[in-house]
Symmetry: C2
């Protein structure tokens, strides 16, 4: 019996995290200053591909205040930065060959690659000395594009070739379907290279314990995974690498690796027995923190006369850049397994070429594989609609998954797990979304305005996300006699509001105010095992673990109270954070119970002291939120500028824990989706020199570029695969933005062009306007 059903779950509880940020008491790694610390400056490759004929560090080494200068030669013993998951080897057989050395040895493979490391008493000395390191490069031919790299004679990894892996996923008779189709449409789509670009660059501080072989580390996002990887490369037990809590100023997937810079900092701190601090500047960040996205999709659709999809085929060229990083095998795998989206695709074949080039290595970035493939699929569906002669809305209606199609288990694996879409009704959601947005009026209005000579268009994209992954998460709940509840979680707070959400979930179980609940995370000393926050997994997995632990705490409280109150356990119930006796006045608050069960009393009874439970929640089933993003915009033909008139994103979310944080996630994702669609791109000269290494050239949307985002959510299909019924909502808002924006631009310009490349940059739009616009005068 639950006395207060849903007292906190589903409520817009204010974010616990914000007080720190609003009162400026939040501490980032860059704020950590340790007595005696050295500052690290990395010497980076100025060449995209070259042999290192020699490195002269003598002048740098002799500068006053310089304590150490390292090159690749000094670190050959420790090898390359390994990937965490052994399971990746099943996807990429020669994974080790493609991992990155800490400092380059013999050869550099991208501009920005760490070549040497200078440690000095202050950051300015370090930077000045780094400029005195002289590297003798012998340039080698450069490969930048994944398609041409795959075809090239130039062998970037001799003995292994330029294709790190080829991933193929298929079901059904694709060839047969294409042979008998009434309509076949094919097109090539490209999503350019951009990335998460968090406000905080990478920052890393490492302090050796002066008397023990232990390193204290501030600045990693995925503390447990990074602990495991650093353990392996440094040869130190995992518990000797103690990752400490700091705030993370954004991650979005690109900042979670063990980076070469972290390894060299840790190695030197351990050797010198002095703290080392590394603060990345923005220019370094733009060439050396992981990039993302760059993919080419050659996609085909076979349809029958009624516009129903018979088959989908996609050949994907994924530009890994120069090396593998942590999450990349996942990105390739997910991309290959999710191109079909929330559609009833009877046969399917996707082949992904994981190709190396001479660019910065890639990482996962918010909705990896989904943003790219959704752009391609939704654009191609618009073409297919035209070929069939029906509207873009109608072709979705005829192909989106309906309740009666579920469970949809076409027989394909995605990250070792069968794709299993098991609840909801996508067509129904789609129809309600259009109706809620007033889509028909948008269309009518745009047409009317175009008739007035204005360049107004509409477009939409349908999306399916996947949340979850990572098998398990840890969670503990501890009631302190001083009147606080502590939740320890393997998740991390990267802006998504996980502290608030977990406080709500635990408060719900303990039936007390979430303001009494503190959530601790990203601290391997308090939380020895965990997986972390990525892949929209925290609410489901960390929430599941915290919930389990809270339930166990309530059980223990009742067991103890039964003895303390001398009452049968069956007569006890929980109400308002206290165990009460049915039909009597006796009560013991959870805090009182915890206080009475002190170390001595508990151990005497062969029990654990206090009121605490540790849980591991296992769930490797992904969940699949879906929705639509709809856009109405106007282009200024004189300048190529644009204005969003309407921006509407919908999602079937499963059970929402906190509508306020959900809203924040969707708006934040929309910003980044717009960035990837219209502004952000890492551009290169032919010789591999990056040309967007500052915010002068890498355009980032800011508040002025942002539309008002309207949001519509349905909770019709709570996930049947977790007790909260929740789905991962961290990425859903970004997925269809590229497709919707491209469609709306094509509609607004009415020039017959089919946008097949993102970003659609301001200069591209301006050029199209120049070609189509007839000035009124």
């Amino acid at each position: 019996m639950q006395r207060c059903p849903q007292r906190w779950i589903g409520k817009p509880v204010r974010r616990r995290e914000d007080e720190r940020f609003l009162t400026a008491s939040a501490t980032f790694a860059g704020d950590i200053d340790l007595t005696g610390q050295l500052h690290l400056r990395i010497v980076r490759s100025t060449q995209a591909h070259a042999r290192i004929a020699g490195i002269d560090v003598e002048e740098a080494r002799s500068q006053p205040g310089v304590r150490l200068v390292l090159t690749g030669e000094d670190l050959t013993g420790i090898g390359t930065v390994p990937l965490e998951e052994a399971g990746y080897h099943e996807i990429y057989p020669n994974l080790e060959a493609f991992t990155q050395p800490v400092l380059a040895v013999d050869r550099v493979r991208y501009v920005g690659q760490p070549v040497a490391a200078v440690f000095a008493d202050d950051p300015y000395l370090a930077e000045d000395a780094a400029e005195l390191v002289s590297v003798d490069y012998e340039p080698l031919p450069v490969l930048l594009d994944p398609v041409s790299s795959l075809e090239s004679e130039i062998d970037l990894f001799p003995g292994y070739g330029n294709e790190g892996a080829r991933i193929e996923k298929a079901y059904g008779d694709v060839d047969g379907a294409f042979a008998e189709a009434a309509h076949v449409v094919c097109h090539e789509y490209t999503v350019g290279r951009h990335s998460g670009v968090p406000m905080e660059t990478r920052n890393f501080v490492v302090q050796p314990d002066p008397s023990r072989d232990i390193l204290y580390i501030w600045g990693t996002v995925h503390v447990h995974g990074n602990m495991r990887v650093l353990s392996r490369i440094l040869g130190m037990p995992e518990t000797s690498l103690r990752m400490r809590h700091v705030e993370i100023g954004g991650n979005f997937g690109v900042k979670g690796d063990v980076f070469p810079e972290y390894v060299v900092a840790a190695w030197a701190a351990r050797r010198l027995r002095r703290p080392v601090k590394w603060v990345e500047d923005r220019q370094e960040h733009m060439v050396a923190t992981s990039h993302a996205r760059e993919q080419v999709h050659r996609m085909g659709l076979a349809l029958n006369g009624a516009g129903e999809i018979l088959a989908m085929r996609d050949e994907i060229f994924h530009n890994h850049g120069a090396f593998f990083r942590q999450t990349e095998p996942l990105v390739s795998d997910i991309t290959t397994g999710i191109v079909f989206g929330p559609y009833r695709v009877p046969s399917y074949e996707a082949t992904l070429h994981a190709v190396f080039t001479n660019k910065t290595p890639l990482a996962a970035y918010r909705a990896p594989g989904r943003y790219e493939s959704t752009f391609a699929r939704e654009r191609l569906l618009d073409l297919a609609a035209a070929a069939v002669g029906i509207s873009p809305v109608e072709i979705r209606r005829r192909n989106l998954l309906r309740a009666k199609d579920l469970p949809w288990t076409p027989g394909i694996d995605i990250v070792h797990e069968p794709f299993h879409f098991d609840s909801g009704d996508v067509v129904d959601h789609f129809d309600r979304a259009l109706s809620e947005a007033g889509w028909d009026e948008w269309v009518t209005e745009a047409a009317a305005l175009r008739a007035e000579g204005r360049y107004v268009g509409v477009g939409f994209g349908v999306l399916m996300d996947k949340g979850g992954l990572g098998l398990y998460e840890t969670g503990s709940v501890e009631v302190s006699p001083v009147g606080r509840v502590r939740v320890l979680t393997g998740a991390s707070s990267v802006g998504q509001g996980v502290e608030t959400v977990l406080a709500q979930i635990v408060a719900e179980q303990l039936q007390l105010d979430p303001q009494l609940v503190d959530v601790e995370h990203s601290d391997t000393e308090l939380v020895p095992d965990g997986i972390g926050s990525w892949s929209s997994r925290s609410t489901v997995l960390a929430g599941g673990a915290a919930r389990m632990a809270a339930i166990e705490v309530v059980e223990k409280a009742k067991r103890l109270a039964s003895t303390m109150l001398e009452v049968d356990e069956a007569d006890l119930q929980l109400a308002d954070g206290a165990v009460t006796v049915r039909g009597a006045d006796s009560r013991l608050s959870l805090f009182e119970i915890a206080g009475r069960w002190d170390a001595y009393s508990a151990r005497l009874a062969d029990d654990q002291p206090g009121l605490r439970a540790d849980a591991v929640y296992r769930n490797n089933l992904m969940n699949y939120p879906y929705g639509v993003t709809l856009v109405q915009l106007e282009v200024d033909p004189e300048t190529g500028g644009h204005e969003f008139l309407r921006f509407f994103t919908t999602a079937e979310t499963g059970r929402i824990i906190n509508p306020m944080t959900t809203r924040g996630q969707i708006i934040g994702a929309a910003v980044q989706g717009i960035g990837g669609a219209l502004y952000e791109e890492f551009t290169y000269e032919d010789d591999g020199q990056p040309t967007a290494t500052s915010f002068m050239d890498y355009l980032l949307p800011a508040a002025l570029e942002m539309p008002d985002v309207d949001i519509f959510t349905t909770e019709d299909a709570p996930s049947p695969d977790n007790p909260l019924g929740a789905k991962g909502l961290g990425e859903v808002g970004i997925i269809a933005v590229g497709a919707a924006v491209a469609s709306a631009f094509d509609d607004a310009l009415g020039d017959g062009s089919h946008t097949d490349r993102l970003p659609l940059r301001p200069e591209d739009i301006f050029m199209r306007c120049q070609l189509t616009h007839k000035p009124r005068s």
Copy 2:
């Protein structure tokens, strides 16, 4: 089947700890310097007893660099420093009334009591400003002596009186025995006030987490107990108080409390959000760190005509000083329950008056209650021998416990546990000890030398110690794939060699080299629960826990190897740190097994990752080592100086884990025993002003004063109460030193005096020589 019986246990493995000290990489709290730290200086009472009429802090507060000045008024909300153990209340009903405020309010009770606290940017500013704090004292009458305090009309704690508790322990018909005795001897013995005086004074560094309500703390000895006490007084959850490892430069029982200085430092750091460092200077240490020992024993013995003890009676006046501190209730309880020593005492009555005075509060100091009561008992036995007309050796032979007397359970509790002496043969050990020492020759030789006019004497004391207490200890063993084994223990390293001993115990179970085993402790982040190192408990309790965890690790390794090697578990055995298959070549080292059982594999199988076990070892049975200390010395009658000619200590030790660390413990204890017998005393003027506040006046024995200590141990009676068969050996070497030295001086001087007060200071000896010595010329 154990392939390598006792490969490491019992071997003189070199101390793991020493490398840090010898290479100067050991870090003490005083070495911790944090960016932005403030320095604390305590303003201490200059009066032994006074009303505070007013405190003027304005001038101090206005000094440049001073950030905060606190007085008791600012801290009234947090109350007094609580004691940890709820169980103490059973011994001392009004405990709370006698605990110490963090800063004095209204009244000061001893010279050195904290009155105000100054926080400044550097320690010199803080000290200068502290001198500007002006306190207006109105002196009150002073009580210094426990006997007169008990009788005084002056009420130190109005409403409670000066007797904090009266503890009575008795069995048998004592009155009857005294009435019918052939011989009755009675005498009053006094042991003066001295203390542990560790090389490192108290040092305490506290750092608030800048974004969370968490304090990181360096410098506490008993990290878990201190965490629990600080949690209560600060109102913070225990896991918000994160005690970090530093080396401890000696404790000996006197430095383990939560002291008022720690609380004020933590309180201010939390409020100011800045790190606070406190380094105690030696003069502060001598008045403000806990003192120890001061007791008066009024003891009587009833014997029959054969010199067999019929009854023992003792009235003890224990001078608590001004307040209760953590371990004091234990000291009083243990004293009352252990006066009889290893003798067959058929009836017994001891009454202890726990009396408050205007001196520094007491704490436990190495062998509390045993050093004092053994001095009294052994001296009185010497008197009894004379009364009966037998030798001091003979009276022991007739009364010490024999194998046939065991188990000796006279029906008395000591710290909530029945006194239970269950193994050995004290007479046998005593005889072997005398024989091993060559006691008869010592006696003959001394007599011969005295006949030559030299002042040579012999003396001995028989001792019984008790090891253990504290109910349980925690221990974890973790095998890291990188080739190290980590032991996590609730014990702490305070110089006793626990890291080495635990490494041996675990290496024995895992059958690998103890050099591969790292022991981590005193770190609440790595070890969330524990009790700590005091009461000679670490080998038995922490060793028991580490052994349990190691056994579980071996079991888990076999279970995993059985699957990995596809072999029945029954066919597996452990050899040289690897699981091997009987009759086959297959083997997996523990490190390989740990590496294969990574987070993903283990969680997939619903198991904990890695190769680790966490154990809680419970054992509240104390163990009772026993032995003799024998001394031969010569006094220089001209100066009162002396020279130890022979110093011999024996012990029945149970199973010894490491004879080298055992030897170190016994020698270290002997030094401190000599200090307490001949040098160390906190002396006072009548108005309560301490007169021994530096090493000019408080005499500490150094290398020059030390004899060569010969040691003889027997391992005839392994403790039946723990699987190691071990006993606590940290205190055994100090216990009988006072008795033996006093006896030898009396023998050497031959002046008929009976030394009944310790220390026997150089000036006392000189005065006695002046009275007795006839210069030869």
